[in-house]
Each structure stands twice: as structure tokens, then as C-alpha cells.
């Protein structure tokens, strides 16, 4: 069934973000003869419209007040884009912005949102939204009875759109007032390669026993190649203060889909696997041969990481 789709885009360094391009890719497949539009807010939005592959029309505002996400400012603009595009389906990322916009937009449009979807499909005329639940132990498929349907989509769920960007733009209003006032920001500098870009991710969990374990993991990442491997952590390790929250992999952290994921002293709880199970090859290193991580692993090493990882580093250096 044809759908008019609005992708709520996000800008990154003046261009549509990777996940915005993924949503446009998903939209192209779901539109089935309907239209695909994108909304872009913030400095450089008009110029970025030309890079929004797969969108025929872009709703834009270059107002720099949109650069820092504030829900109260973004909502009227996104709502205007939904109404002007005649969207029957609104797609946004399961990002800081999408997590807040999805429910609030749904309320304002008297409809509903399916959060953190990994699959959106047209099942014989009705859109179906599939998302993990119960920490990933289960998956749930929903329909939305009201119009438009809204979904936030987990990164890496769709392939990026290719081709020409939007040829037509329409102006959205400048940002209004916000009762929520942003007074400070602190960016956590990650060491080396960004977690979500790295072809190899080395991740550590509570089983490392102490924060020093991450130093060994950094040595392993260096031995695998500084331009290839990044280090991440499970929520348990982050909650213990062993690693920065910005490098957390899992349901409440980042989603990574590297070619190779090496999970070290991580039990493999569903909460964690929600951020890693899309990896092409998973290697588990754990003392417990019954650990859940081995249910997801292609290769398993049963042993003490304190012995296995230094041996692995030595072997890689040979």
C-alpha cells in the first residue's frame, strides 16, 4: 500500500547523519509509490537537503537555534512538516532526539509511536512494527490504528539510501521558545576510532573484575590495528564506573554492527546483546562455557581473560 513517508532527519557536521540516510533507505522501500520527504533542522539544513538521498522534498530551517536539540523547539517544526507532507508514516531514529520526539509527537497528533523498531514492513496493506522487548528476550510486532503511524528505528536496521537528494525544499518556521534551558555541555572525547564506525569492536564487561582490565582491552585493540578496532563496555561495567557511558554498548547505549565483535568477560545478557547482536562475527571469551554470550558467538574461547587476552595480543604481534 502506498505510504507518504516523512523522515525526521538529523544533521551531523552539516550533512544528513548516517542513521538519517538509513531511514531514507527504509522509506524508499516502504513508500510503494507514495512520497518520501525529509525534515532537516539547524545550520546548513538547506544545503544538506541535496544530500538527503531518496527524498523528493525537504522541509528545512537553517535556524541555528535548532543546532542543540530541545524537544519543545523541534516539535512544532516537525509537526508542521508532518502536516505539510501529508505523511501516513513518520520515521525517526532511536536517538536522543527521536526518543523524546516520538512519544511527544504521537501525543500531539493523537496517534501512537512504536519505539526502537528493528523492522518496519508492509504486511498485506497494514504496516507492522517489530521491536525487541523484555531486554531482547522477546520480540513484539505491533500495528498502529491511528494516522499517521510513527516509528523510531534502531540504527543499522535499514541500508543507507543512495542516489539524488531532495530537489525541492519548503521552509519551516524558526525555533520558538523552550522552557528547558540548556546551560552547559560536556563532550566525552573517545580514545581512537568511533565505536559505531570501527570494523572491529573489543568489548569488556563486569567479569573483567577491575577497571584496569580495559587497559588490556586497549592493548588488544591496538594489536588488532589502531585504525580498525575500538573499545566498548557493557552497561554493568559502565555502571561500576569502569568506562565512560558514551562508550556503552547495549539497549540504553550504542548499537554497533562491526565485522568482528570480541566480547570479553561479558555474560551476554539480552540488554547488552541488543547493541551487539547485529555484528557479523561474534567471538566470546568467558570462563563459563554455559554463558549466554556463546549462544550468539561463532567462536568461543572458554578461559580466564587474564590469560587468554595477553596470549592473543602476543599471537597478533607475531
Amino acid at each position: 500500500m502506498p505510504q507518504n513517508i516523512l523522515v525526521v532527519g538529523e544533521l551531523e557536521n552539516g550533512a544528513p547523519s548516517t542513521v538519517t540516510l538509513e531511514l531514507l533507505g527504509g522509506a524508499a522501500a516502504l513508500a510503494a509509490g507514495g512520497s518520501v520527504s525529509v525534515s532537516l533542522l539547524g545550520s546548513g539544513a538547506t544545503a544538506a537537503a541535496a544530500q538527503a538521498a531518496g527524498a523528493s522534498k525537504a522541509f528545512v530551517s537553517d535556524d541555528a537555534n535548532y543546532d542543540t536539540f530541545r524537544g519543545e523547539q523541534w516539535l512544532p517544526a516537525v509537526q508542521a512538516a508532518v502536516e505539510q507532507s501529508g505523511a501516513t508514516l513518520v520515521l525517526m531514529a532511536q536517538s536522543t532526539a527521536g526518543r523524546e520526539l516520538g512519544p511527544r509527537l504521537a501525543h500531539r497528533l493523537n496517534t501512537a509511536v512504536a519505539m526502537d523498531c528493528v523492522k518496519v514492513e508492509d504486511a498485506g496493506g497494514a504496516l507492522q512494527f517489530t521491536r525487541p522487548a523484555y531486554g531482547g528476550n522477546a520480540q513484539a510486532t505491533y500495528t498502529i490504528a491511528t494516522n499517521p503511524a510513527i516509528a523510531t528505528v534502531r540504527p543499522k536496521s535499514f541500508d543507507e539510501a543512495t542516489g539524488a537528494g531532495a530537489s525541492e525544499t519548503a521552509e519551516l518556521p524558526a525555533a520558538g521558545a523552550s522552557r528547558v534551558n540548556v546551560v552547559g555541555k560536556e563532550v566525552t572525547e573517545s580514545e581512537g576510532l568511533a565505536l559505531t564506525d570501527a570494523p572491529i569492536v573489543v568489548a569488556g564487561g563486569r567479569g573483567l573484575g577491575a577497571p584496569e582490565g580495559f587497559e588490556t582491552l586497549r592493548e588488544l585493540a591496538a594489536a588488532l590495528g589502531k585504525d580498525k578496532a575500538a573499545v566498548g563496555a557493557s552497561r554493568a561495567a559502565v555502571d561500576l564506573g569502569w568506562f565512560p557511558p558514551s562508550e556503552q554498548i547495549g539497549l540504553t547505549g550504542k548499537v554497533v554492527t562491526p565485522d568482528l565483535y570480541i566480547a570479553i568477560a561479558i555474560s551476554g545478557a539480552s540488554q547488552h546483546m541488543a547493541g551487539a547482536s547485529g555484528s557479523k562475527t561474534i567471538v566470546g571469551v568467558n570462563r563459563d562455557k554455559d554463558a549466554n554470550i556463546f549462544d550468539f558467538s561463532k567462536y568461543g574461547v572458554v578461559g580466564d581473560w587474564k590469560q587468554v587476552i595477553p596470549a592473543l595480543i602476543e599471537e597478533l604481534k607475531k
Binding site: G102, A112, K185, T252, T281, A311
Partner: protein, 267 residues
């Protein structure tokens, strides 16, 4: 300062996958034998955040509200034992099987009925469905500002200062009252009540409210009022068949693993 904490009782998220079962006929999780339901951890952390604000101010009241069955009394009592002053249980068969929107409508109606509420603290999401909608929807219904995914919250004069977790770091926001805050695990561990507090909480009376008490029609709540409709709940299949790397020593295991990964052109 009167702060409401919204608390949900959920199946224990630490339930081992082998004990996790779904009844396909009803699309519901079958309660695991011998594993009691728990207070959602994010809500316990929200309670901790609310209690710290009350304690720092030296006065005020914390009320814990839960929508759920009679068993949700246990979740309310846990927050009372942590130090909350009053508890409210919203228990009505009409509330069952709703979506985030109907849940938020019930909670917001109860908050409006209390009347003098300055702030609502919720977990960032419930650790069963992980939707993360209810706090935001309460804010929309009440038309209050909202700060999500908090790792810190404190009173600063007439406003609330909230530290929020972002993908690449943190930001600090100031929010006027009344406001809604959703709290994340980065806030830190909730306190564990001691026995005398647990016993005192057990004696406290929990106020009960039903749809009629809140001026809600059964047709606008629960399954009848839901917009997001669950079609199927299922356990996904796991793809990988693990190959354990052989070796008598860590060195032999390491060598075997490296040769496999090189053969797969992964390193």
C-alpha cells in the same frame, strides 16, 4: 516540594532466558516459577533521585504511584521503605493491557487529582517493554516541561538543574517547576532499605484509586483506549552455532583463534 515517583512492577529482568516463556494464545509472558516480580530498576533510581532532592531541601513530600494489579503493592512498599511518604495504587481491570498512552493518561489523572504536585520523576523506561514513553507523555498531558535520561538532578533556587546523558557526553539543563524528569542508570545505585524501614513501610496504608475515582471512562483506558496494538509476542531464534576453540593452554587457544579469524579475513 511535592514529588511524585511513578513506579512499575515488572517480571524480573534477570530471569534466565531458559525460564523466559511466552503464552502464544494471549501474547503474554508466563510468570517464571519461583521468580517474584520486581520494581523496575530505573524507577528505583528515579525514587532515589526524588528522595535526594527532598532530603537536600530538608522538607517536602514524596508520593509513589503505581498502576498495576494488587501485587504492585510490593513495588510501592519498596519505595515507601526507601523513604517515600505516601503510596497510591491505581488498580482497575479497565487499566489492563493498555499502551503507553493509556498508562500515561491514568498516571497523569492521578497526579492531577493529588493537585499540589511540583515534579514527577519516572525511570527512563520500564525494563520490561523498554518503550520509554510514559514520562514524556505525562509531561505532554500536563503541559509541563520535561528533562529525559537524567544522571543528576538538584534544586537550584526556583528551578531544577538536570544533567542529561547524550550520545557523545552530557548536558546540563535548567527546568522551571512543575516539571517531569526521567532518570537513567547513570544516576547511580538506589539505596537499599533496612529492616526497620521495611517494617514501617509494611504498616503504611496505600491509597487505592480506580477509573471512576479519576474521572476516566473505561473506554479511554486499558486495551479499549490503546492506539498501539500488540499483534504478536514471540521469542526470536538465535542464529549462531558456537565453535569452541580447542587448546590446552591459553597460548594454543590464542593461536587457533587467530588462525580462524585470519582464514575468515576478519583480521
Amino acid at each position: 516540594m511535592h514529588i511524585v515517583v511513578c513506579a512499575k512492577q515488572i517480571p524480573d529482568p534477570e530471569t534466565p532466558p531458559s525460564a523466559f516463556k511466552i503464552d502464544a494464545a494471549t501474547n503474554k509472558v508466563v510468570p517464571a516459577q519461583g521468580i517474584a516480580p520486581v520494581l523496575s530498576q530505573f524507577d528505583a533510581i528515579a525514587a532515589e533521585a526524588a528522595l535526594r532532592i527532598k532530603e537536600a531541601g530538608g522538607e517536602g513530600k514524596v508520593t509513589v504511584i503505581s498502576m498495576g494489579a494488587e501485587s504492585a503493592q510490593a513495588a510501592i512498599k519498596q519505595v515507601l521503605a526507601m523513604g517515600a511518604d505516601e503510596g497510591v495504587l491505581l488498580n482497575d481491570p479497565a487499566f489492563e493491557d493498555g499502551d503507553s498512552h493509556t498508562t500515561a493518561k491514568v498516571l497523569a489523572s492521578a497526579i492531577q487529582k493529588l493537585g499540589d504536585v511540583d515534579a514527577v520523576f519516572c525511570g527512563r523506561q520500564a525494563a520490561d517493554w523498554d518503550m520509554g514513553q510514559v514520562g514524556l507523555l505525562i509531561a505532554e498531558i500536563l503541559d509541563w516541561p520535561v528533562a529525559t535520561i537524567a544522571k543528576g538532578a538538584s534544586l537550584e533556587g526556583e528551578t531544577l538543574s538536570v544533567e542529561r546523558v547524550l550520545a557523545d557526553g552530557f548536558e546540563t539543563v535548567q527546568v522551571p517547576f512543575p516539571a517531569v524528569v526521567t532518570v537513567s542508570n547513570e544516576f547511580g545505585e538506589p539505596r537499599y532499605p533496612k529492616l526497620p524501614q521495611i517494617m514501617a513501610a509494611a504498616k503504611k496504608t496505600v491509597t487505592q484509586m480506580k477509573a471512576g475515582d479519576l474521572g476516566l471512562d473505561p473506554s479511554e483506558v486499558g486495551k479499549a483506549g490503546s492506539r498501539l496494538q500488540l499483534q504478536k509476542l514471540f521469542i526470536p531464534e538465535k542464529g549462531a552455532q558456537v565453535e569452541f576453540i580447542a587448546g590446552d593452554t591459553p597460548q594454543e587457544q590464542a593461536a587457533a583463534l587467530v588462525s580462524k579469524l585470519r582464514a575468515d579475513k576478519l583480521i
